[in-house]
Amino acid sequence: MALLNKKDSKLILDPLADNNPITIQVLGICSALAITAELKASVVMALSVLFVLSAGNVVISLLRNIIPSKIRIIVQLVVVAALVIIVDQVLKAFAYELSKTLSVFVGLIITNCIIMGRFEAFALGNGPKKAFLDGIGNALGYGVILVIVGFFRELLGSGTLFGFKVLGDPVTKTGLYSIGYENNGFMIIPPAALIVVGIIIWVQRSRNRALIEEA
């Protein structure tokens, strides 16, 4: 962290744990859950959000003194939509299969509350460098949760990671399957993602009791 002073590195590190956008700020859950059945999709989604959020934060922060506050939401939406179109076209060109799996959820990055939330809360009041770091930090915090959920759902649900059969082959009964292990089909269905995130929140809050909500 030679390039960054303490304050700046805090901008990146804070959202990774104690101010995580998903588990603490409750932002950007919509897309986080639907595409995490596979690790690959989660990673691509996290990278897309990383690009959109960091670039968008910089753009908004550069424009912050020009945007009239009454129409700022529309300006923000246009900036995000333009960035998301870039991501979508790149995915369609270089990873067509994956873009089909992600389907509408790439488009839904536009309305991902993380992005609007960070624009409103940070980029409108801070300079471009800080805004960039804040974007990176929050997108990483989002990505970490996505990857954790994707990891467990793919490992327990299909016995694979990135499509590699890490637990052996369920058909020919090799590896773990030879001693009677079964895939948990429950992890594949969409509601499992909610429960996994619920458990992550549980673990995080029992480790850091300051985060517990008042009843």
């Binding site: 588990t23 919509c30 333009a82 179109i85 839904l108 509350c113 509601p191 909610l194």
Partner: protein
């Protein structure tokens, strides 16, 4: 009529916005602490979905689709403006929400007071944009069905937020483990409700069709499969024809 009914129940139960595709989760979690506010937001979502989905359907049909510009003249038939759909859809939604807000404020102050604070929130509710995007990928054939789709997915969302708000009001009296309180338990309850809603999955699919995987929005792959089937059928028929011809000879 039958297809309207089918789409109606399917969008409410099988493809429920919250439980099957997790759209609008942010406001679903943030505004579900009390039943009365949840009802207000839910009603606003139904309303805005009912307006924006048919509008975006028109945009898609006459502006964005591959070859949609043909009404301007034959030389425009090759244009595919599909890549613009995100920006146009979100612009429609943002302007419609503004417009609805102004109209409601002018003509029905009482409704405005109950919905008012939620309307601006709705522009960035993923359920609204999601409704339009799903309308596009599922290739809904006409504007009546698009309207139906908007309204019924709105009703599905309304039911979901109503249910969770009622549960959250009751759960205050329960002894939830401290780290799970608030957000954590809401996630888990929503997950359980989602599993419950999965049981609607078999309701409208025929005997031979596999249950739909709502997460992946398999519409496109299904289409490809259907095309394959049709091709195979055609090939079979061709084989049969040539076989018959051979016999006749």
């Amino acid at each position: 009529m039958l297809e309207h009914l089918e789409l109606f129940f399917k969008s409410i139960f099988v493809d429920n916005m919250v439980f099957a595709v997790f759209l609008g989760m942010c406001s679903y979690l943030a505004v579900s602490k009390k039943v009365s506010t949840a009802v207000g937001l839910g009603a606003a979502v139904i309303f805005v979905l009912g307006v924006t989905v048919p509008l975006n359907w028109l945009l898609d049909q006459y502006l964005l689709k591959d070859g949609a510009l043909v009404w301007l003249g034959p030389e425009y038939a090759d244009y595919d403006l599909g890549f613009l759909s995100f920006i146009l859809f979100i612009a429609t939604i943002a302007t419609m929400v503004q417009l609805v807000e102004i109209v409601v404020e002018k003509f029905s102050p009482s409704l405005y007071n109950s919905l008012g604070i939620f309307l601006p929130l709705i522009a960035v509710n993923c359920a609204i944009l999601g409704g339009s995007l799903f309308m596009q990928t599922r290739e809904i054939p006409n504007i009546g069905l698009a309207f139906n789709y908007g309204i019924s997915s709105g009703i599905g969302w309304f039911l979901a937020i109503l249910a969770i708000a009622a549960i959250r009001e009751k759960i205050r009296y329960s002894n939830v483990p401290a780290p799970l309180r608030g957000l954590g338990i809401t996630f888990i309850i929503t997950g359980l409700m989602g599993i419950g809603f999965q049981s609607f999955g078999g309701m409208l699919t025929g005997d031979n069709e596999p249950p739909e995987e709502a997460t992946k929005a398999t519409v496109k792959t299904e289409k490809i499969e259907k095309e394959k089937e049709i091709k195979e059928e055609i090939e079979d028929e061709e084989k049969a024809v040539s076989y018959n011809e051979a016999i006749n000879k």
